[in-house]
Amino acid sequence: MKSWQMMLAAVGLVLCSCGRDTRPALHVYNWSDYMNPDILAQFEKENTCRVVLDNYDSNEAMYAKIKAGATGYDLIFPSSYMVSIMNQQGMIQPIDHSKIPNIQYIDPDFLHLTEDPEMHHSVPYMVSVTGLAYNKTRIPDAVASWNMLNREELAGRITLLDDMREVIGAALKTKGYSLNTTNEAELTEAVEVIREWKKHIAKFEADEYQQGIASEEFLLCQGYNGDVMQIMAENDNIGFLLPKEGASISSDDMVIPADAREVDLAHQFINFIHRPDISAANMEYVYYYSPNTEAVKLVGEELRSNPTVFLSKEDMQRCEIIKDLGESNRLYARLWDGIKSE
C-alpha cells in the first residue's frame, strides 16, 4: 500500500513539475562552452522564459542534423561560410532590424569584411582569426610570418590544421593572393608552398594541437586564436602570432532557422547578446572578440590590451573571410586530397 502511494506521489510530482513551467522556451543550438552561463540566467529572468541549450562540435554536423529534418531550434550559431550555404538553401530567415536596436553597436570595420555586411540574415557573434601558436622559449626568434613553417630546426614539431581552406588559405596568403581565389595558377603555387611545409610537419591536426603545444610535443602550430588563448591563460610560455602576410578571419553568426517557433524571442536574444554590458561579460568569459564597439570599452583592461583577442585595425584589414566557393570547392577538394595522400 505504502509503495503504491509513494509511486502515485512521485507520478503526481513529475506531472506537476511538467505542467507548471509555462514560460516560453527558446531553443538555442550553439558550439559547446561558447557563452557565459550567467548571462543566460539573466536573460531567462528578464524575459520570463527558458533557454534550452543544445551543442554541436562542427558546422557540418549541425548542418547534417538540420538537413536531416531536426526542427525546434530558434537560434543557431554557424560560422560565416555555413551561414551563406544555409541562406542559399532557404534554411534561415531574414533578421528584423527593428527588433534589435543594439545592432547599431556592431563594428562596421568588421562587417565590411563579411559576406552579409547588411546583416540581412545573420548577426555576428564572435570573431576568430587563424595564426600561429608557438613555444616562446624554444623559438626565441619567432617572427609573425607563415614562413616560420619552413624552419628546418622545428621539423617534426610543427602541425598544420586538418582543414583544407585554412591550410590552402595560409599558403595563398604567403604568396600574396586572396584566400578565396579560384585561379588555378595561383592555387598551383600555393600547393607548392604546402609541399615544402609538409616536409617539416608532424601531422595535420585540428583537435589535439592545443594539448600538443601545451605539453611541448609540438613547438609551432597553426591554430585559432580562441583555442590558443585558452592555453595561454594557463601557460605563459605559449604565444600567438598573426602572420604579417595576412590570415583568415571568421565569425560565428547568430541566425534564425526558417522554421523557428519563437521568432520574437530569438530577436530579443540577439538584442540582449549585443547589449554592451552583456556582450562585455560574455567576452570576459569566452575570450573571443565580439564585434561590438560599445562593449569593447567595458571589457577589463587586461583582456582589452590582449592582442591575441583584440586585433588592431590594420591587422584586421589584412585578414580575409573564408567564403563558400560553390562549384570551385571541388577544385580545392581535389588539390587537398592530392596534398594529403602524397
Binding site: E60, M164, K203, E216, E217, D324, R330, S341
Partner: protein, 294 residues
Amino acid sequence: MMSRNPRRMLARIGELQVLLVPPALWLLLFFLIPVAVILAFSFTKTNGQGGILLDFTMEHFKRALDPLYLKLLGRSAMYAGLSTLISAAMALPAACFIAFSPPKRQKLLLFLVFLPLWTNLLVRLFSFVVILSDGGLLNQALQTFSLTTEPLHLLNTPFAVILGFIYWNLPYMIPPIFVSLDRMNVSLIEASMDLGAGRMTTFRKIILPQAAPGIAAGLVLCFIPALGCFIIPDILGGPDTMMIGNLITSQFGQGRNWPFGSALSSLLMLLVMLAITLYLRFFNPATQSANGKR
C-alpha cells in the same frame, strides 16, 4: 520429447524458424538498409554544398578510380596487410602456448588477451602517443640508458600506424588460432616426436595444419577492419599516412561530398567482398587441410 512422426518433426523445425526473425529483422534494419542507402547515395549528384541531388551519375566512381585515390587504397592495403601478417606471426606462438597450458593458466592467459578490450580504443591509442612521442616514455628510457642521444622520431610515422594496428589486431587474432589448436589431440605431437620428427617438422606438419583454419579466420577478422580504419592513422599517423578510411570520413564532414564518400565506401565493400570470395574459393587453408587429409 520430440515426436517420432517425421511430418510432425518437420513442422516443429518450421516453427523453430520463427527464432530467425529477430536477427533477420535486425540485420535488415541496421545492415542491409543502410548499405542500400549508401549504395544509392553513391550514384547521386552533389549540390556542391553537402546536399544531395537525386540525379543519376557515375562521376563519383570515375573520380574514385583516379590514380590519386588508388594510391591511397594501395597504401591502406599495404598497412592493413603487413600489420595483419605480423600479428599472425606473433599470435601463433602465443596461441600455442595458451592451448598447451594447464586449464587454470589457460583461463588466466585468455583473460589477459581480452583485457585490453575493456578500455576504449581511443584511450589506448592516446597512451601510445604518451609512449611514442619525442619526449615520451620510450625515448626517455632510451636516453636514460644512453642507447640514443637524440630522440627517435617514432610517433606520426607509418611505423606508429602499423604498430597501432598490430596492437589492435592481437586480441582478434589469438582467440581463433587458440580455438583451432585447443581441439587438437596433444598425443599427435608426442607421436610425431616419438617417430623421429624434429621440432620444426612437427610444427610444420602437425601444429600448423591444425592452426590453419584459426589463422585464416584471424587474417580475415583483422585485415578487413584495418583496411577501412581511420582512427589509428588519425591519432598515430603523420602527414604521409592518410588511409582510405580517412578520405571517406572527410567526405562526410569537411569535404561535404556524401555521394563521393558513399562511392568510396561502396567500392571498398566491393573489393573486400571480391577478395574474400576469391580467398575462400582458392586459398582457404581450412578446406585445404580438410581435403589434404583425405
